[in-house]
């Protein structure tokens, strides 16, 4: 799918390019362990200025979603699913994303999902989500 990619500023490299190892990474406060997203040079919980990095499970829940039917720009393939995924590690750690590898009409709020990366130009790894595989 055609996408407009983000400008990757210095403090955003971890998020946009960190997926090269197949995992999701975020800045984390060294003092109170709060995960900060989007990246900022301060912890918004305790105002600590020392931020490290954390790797999360990449698993979460569909908090809400919409199926986009409107081709807003030429060559946009519709329909597709846009969702807000709440990650397991922290209540307010959410991403806007696409749900893939499932027909849009099968997506539901509360569905368990896990990250899958789409590799784009300039080594940008877009975190998309697919339904959790049920272990047999």
């Amino acid at each position: 799918m055609t996408r407009t990619l983000p400008v990757v500023n210095e403090d955003e490299v971890l998020f946009w390019k960190g997926g090269a190892d197949g995992k999701l990474h975020f800045p984390q406060c060294r003092q109170c362990q709060y995960i900060v997203h989007p990246p900022a040079p301060v912890c918004p919980q305790c105002y600590g200025r020392e931020l490290g990095e954390t790797t999360v499970s990449g698993e979460g829940t569909v908090a809400t979603f919409t199926i986009n039917y409107q081709p807003w720009v030429p060559d946009m393939q519709v329909p597709f699913t846009i969702a807000i995924v709440a990650l397991n590690e922290q209540d307010d750690l959410r991403l806007m994303t696409n749900i893939v590898n499932i027909p849009p009409e099968k997506v539901e709020i509360g569905m368990r999902v896990s990250v899958v990366f789409e590799v784009c130009d300039e080594d940008i790894y877009l975190p998309l989500f697919e339904p959790m595989k049920v272990s047999v």
Binding site: P6, A63, I67, N68, Y69, Q70, W72, V73, R94
Partner: protein, 391 residues
């Protein structure tokens, strides 16, 4: 508590021609609205000592804000004690709130506030983000996932509301159907033919659960209002419409997808603040003009402003009787953005003034309305006001 806005009033209001592809410049439309608003107040251009607009001149999206404060100041050679055209504010009424601040600080007596759009001529279709090579700034965590339109972002809130509270498309339809009924009585409205529930239900989806009729219509048009100090308002042409209370709070995440409660929006905080600044109650409101850039935003405002309990909005508007022109809470009496055009909050503000001045003509709310609630903004934007014609 100091409620400085009570020292201010709207003394004049006007709109330019509003329509599809008018082929006129933004400045032309702005001048038309502004000169009319000044005359409406019984003022002269030289009386204007403040100028305020939101969001100020913007190159993108096309037609979203083609005129800034400097261009209008130049066109009318205004002599100003203060001016501001700022995009970073609690919604489209940020320009009004700034004007109130400038007046109560003693900078100005009469502030001209305007909003102009030429989205119909400029683009001919809905504006979307992410048209450059790369995206940066506030939309960069949405655009790469092809969430390009506010329709997508608002649909996410709507779907959450549907899921949490059992709201249905049949219920939401009443925002659009009610708007269309009122638009039939408004000669300036864009869409005036009746809209049936069947037509709504069968219309094409844009971004589920929002269909075509849940999305407003881009237009060309300018709206202007004069905000005056109450002491300077007494002897003007019209009875001043006092700004009884303002809601501009924003206490959660500034984001379309990080707000703490995804079944509502920043408008929740603005609504709460507004009621803390007045003795009036929701039951005192005679007419409501609530932002309907998308139908769901209007439903959310209805709930968060306390016209019905949170989660009950769908059931409140079901059947449409309560929000009809002769209902308990007449809503979006000019047709709203959905049928009268996307004048971005200011058309609704103008309509509130028209109703309080009793000049609504065929669509005038009965019983001499004295209190109006007006609201603009969705997502991280939200601002609201109570206007009252009683002294």
């Amino acid at each position: 508590m100091i409620v400085g806005e009570k020292m201010t009033a709207i003394t004049g209001s006007a709109q330019s021609a509003v329509g599809r592809r008018l082929g006129r410049s933004g400045l032309d439309l702005t001048v038309e609205a502004c000169l009319a608003a000044i005359a409406d107040a019984g003022l002269e251009v030289k009386d204007i000592d403040g100028l305020s607009t939101w969001p100020g001149f913007a190159e993108q999206p096309p037609g979203f804000s083609p005129v800034g404060a400097p261009e209008l100041k130049e066109a009318l050679r205004l002599k100003l004690n203060w001016h501001a055209g700022v995009s970073e504010a609690p919604g489209q009424f940020g320009s009004i709130f700034n004007a109130v601040g400038a007046i109560t600080a003693g900078f100005c007596r009469h502030v001209l506030c305007f909003r102009v759009l030429t989205e119909s001529s400029s683009a001919g279709k809905a504006s979307v983000m992410g048209q450059g090579e790369r995206v940066d700034g506030w939309s960069k965590y949405m655009v790469p996932f092809n969430a390009l339109s506010a329709a997508n972002w608002t649909a996410l809130f709507a779907q959450k509301h549907f899921d949490c509270y059992g709201t249905t498309r049949e219920q939401l339809a009443q925002i659009a159907i009610n708007g269309r009924k009122n638009a039939a009585l408004n000669p300036k409205a864009i869409y005036r033919d009746p809209l049936s529930l069947d037509e709504y239900m069968e219309s094409r989806m844009i971004s589920s659960p929002l269909c075509l009729y849940d999305c407003d219509v881009p237009v060309d048009g300018a709206t202007a209002v004069i905000v005056s100090h109450i002491d300077a308002a007494a002897d003007l042409r019209r009875p001043p419409l006092r700004i009884e209370a303002i809601g501009s709070a924003h206490n959660s995440r500034y984001s379309w997808f990080q707000f703490d409660d995804l079944a509502t929006q920043a408008l929740r905080d603005a609504a709460q603040m507004m009621w803390q600044r007045t003795d009036l109650k929701p039951a005192d409101v005679d007419v409501a003009e609530l932002y309907d850039g998308f139908s769901f935003i209007c439903l959310d405002w209805l709930e968060q402003l306390g016209f019905c309990p949170v989660g009950e909005g769908g059931r409140f508007i079901e059947g449409g009787e309560r929000i009809a022109l002769d209902g308990e809470l007449p809503l979006n009496t000019n047709g709203g953005h959905l049928s009268a055009g996307r004048t971005h909050g200011f058309g609704l503000l103008h309509e509130a003034c028209v109703q309080l001045w009793g000049e609504g003509g065929a669509r005038q709310v009965g019983g001499d309305p004295k209190v109006a609630a007006v609201a603009a903004g969705g997502g991280p934007l939200g601002g609201c006001m109570l206007l009252t014609s009683s002294q």
